[in-house]
Symmetry: C2
Subunit: 300 residues, 2 copies
């Protein structure tokens, strides 16, 4: 059964890679897809493009691991759970485009199963979502991002969008910056409203919608000219992404705590980042505009 489930996630990874390859204009799957195994059980396939035509870097990771006890990071908000032998599989995508007019994006879909001593599933749930981090924001793009997410979620459950977009805002909040990581999207965890079959269909649809919406936005902005100041702004703002991922992100913590493949886990970090103590007026003006968008509730 594990293999059947894995095939679903690997197909999701494949679809994203095909689309990103078109974007990039050169094939990168063959030379970039690393298969790896994990000592404690399971493994994955990591595809990374670095210093491409469209992407500064981009990681599309599939992983499927098994173990004796779920790490703490996976049990947040799970009460009264009897931990034990588990399987955790999923796909995660982080794209850091070159052009600061194109937002950074992140998508993750995952399935957790807990097994009893006979190897039967005693508990399971899904999690995932996607979110957008613009640098030079466009109102229209953000609206598309949220409207299309709502449209998809409404077809499963009319309450999903409202809840999951709020969860996304809450999850991607950076307390020490008093800012969100971006303009949101959807985030869900510990979900088992649907049957396991329908949950997987739901995850497939989430991944597909992410891809369509992101490609739509990126296509519009990828040829827009940008200045050195705007690129510098992007590099400094990317620091927020690093801060969030290393200090707060449960996915990263899960990877570190489960002794995962470190290159794959940290492939989410941007290829190039700057930190700057003092900001000049040009930077401040760009940030002021961005923060206005970031602090807005985009629930549509």
């Amino acid at each position: 059964m594990i293999t059947k489930l894995e095939n679903i996630f690997q197909k999701i990874q494949e679809n994203i890679l095909v689309k990103f390859e078109e974007f990039e204009g050169t094939p990168f799957r063959d030379k970039s897809l690393d298969s790896w195994t994990r000592k404690e059980g399971g493994g994955g396939k990591t595809a990374v493009i670095a210093n491409g035509n469209f992407f500064d870097n981009c990681a599309v990771n599939f992983s499927s691991i098994v173990g004796k006890n779920l790490p703490e990071a996976a049990l947040k908000n799970k009460k009264n759970i009897s931990n034990g032998k588990f399987s955790a599989m999923g796909v995660s995508v982080i794209s850091h485009p070159k052009n600061p007019h194109v937002p950074t994006s992140h998508m993750n879909v995952r399935l957790f199963c807990l097994f009893d001593s006979n190897g039967n599933i005693k508990d399971w749930w899904i999690g995932g979502g996607y979110d957008l981090t613009p640098y030079l924001p466009y109102r229209d793009d953000i609206k598309i991002w949220h409207k299309e997410a709502k449209h998809l979620l409404d077809s499963f459950d009319k309450t999903y969008y409202k809840n999951f977009s709020k969860e996304c805002n809450d999850y991607f909040y950076i307390p020490h910056r008093k800012e969100r990581r971006g303009v949101g999207g959807i985030f869900f965890d510990n979900l088992k409203d649907l049957s396991i079959e329908n949950s997987l269909i739901f995850l497939e649809n989430v991944a597909k919608q992410y891809l369509n919406s992101y490609v739509e936005i990126a296509s519009k902005r990828k040829d827009t000219k940008y200045s050195q100041v705007e690129k510098e702004f992007q590099l400094i703002r990317r620091g927020r992404y690093v801060e969030f991922n290393l200090v707060y992100d449960r996915g990263t913590a899960f990877g570190l705590q489960s002794n995962g493949r470190i290159e794959s886990i940290l492939a989410s970090l941007p290829a190039e980042v700057k930190w700057s103590y003092k900001k000049d007026d040009e930077y401040k003006a760009l940030e002021k505009k961005l923060l206005k968008y970031i602090n807005e509730d985009w629930n549509v």
Copy 2:
């Protein structure tokens, strides 16, 4: 009394700035020293140089804060403590030099006091240390760094160097990389072996020895030519510094948990960093050499 103690730490900051200014060749104290206050009590002075002649960036921070309860990060390894009104003051230095032949260095000296309801000190301790993170390592430099630390510590207590250099290796270990952050130095916490007066003299001497040793090493290496490959190697290896500081460092966690001034706390991060998934042979050769030095026990 607080003011008297603060003066000691501010003098330490001043001495370092004077020396670093000589290094930099241009004055930067006047234009770079920001005074700030913290809403909950206390404040500090942050001096940052960015994109200088010698430093890519460098932060020399003094802070003295008061509050109702010490944050968790300050209580690690403190057992049976009755938390309460506290004062925490210290100086921390992080230098990220341009030239990859010159190591990154870090120094911190700090004093914690806990007060009873009458405002009398009910408990106190000191902490601190300094450590070195080379990119293109020189055996001689690392030996100087450790020998001089041992020489200083021996004059206070013959057991200090052995214990504090081990604590440094343990503290600056990056579990997810299975590497130390650098070649070590000294680290101590919860120390109250000496009288409070002698503890402060000890901290002054630690700061002075750090400065002398670092200036000695940096002076030797600062004019050594380097290649683009070596600079790139430094930028990627700096990622380890970011990973350590954001994921594990108690000083950073203390700052974030105590609602400190975020620009000052994160001034420890390098001005420019790269993450790279695939490494080329030149990178691998440089890293192989470096890891050999990093994994060596330098206790002299």
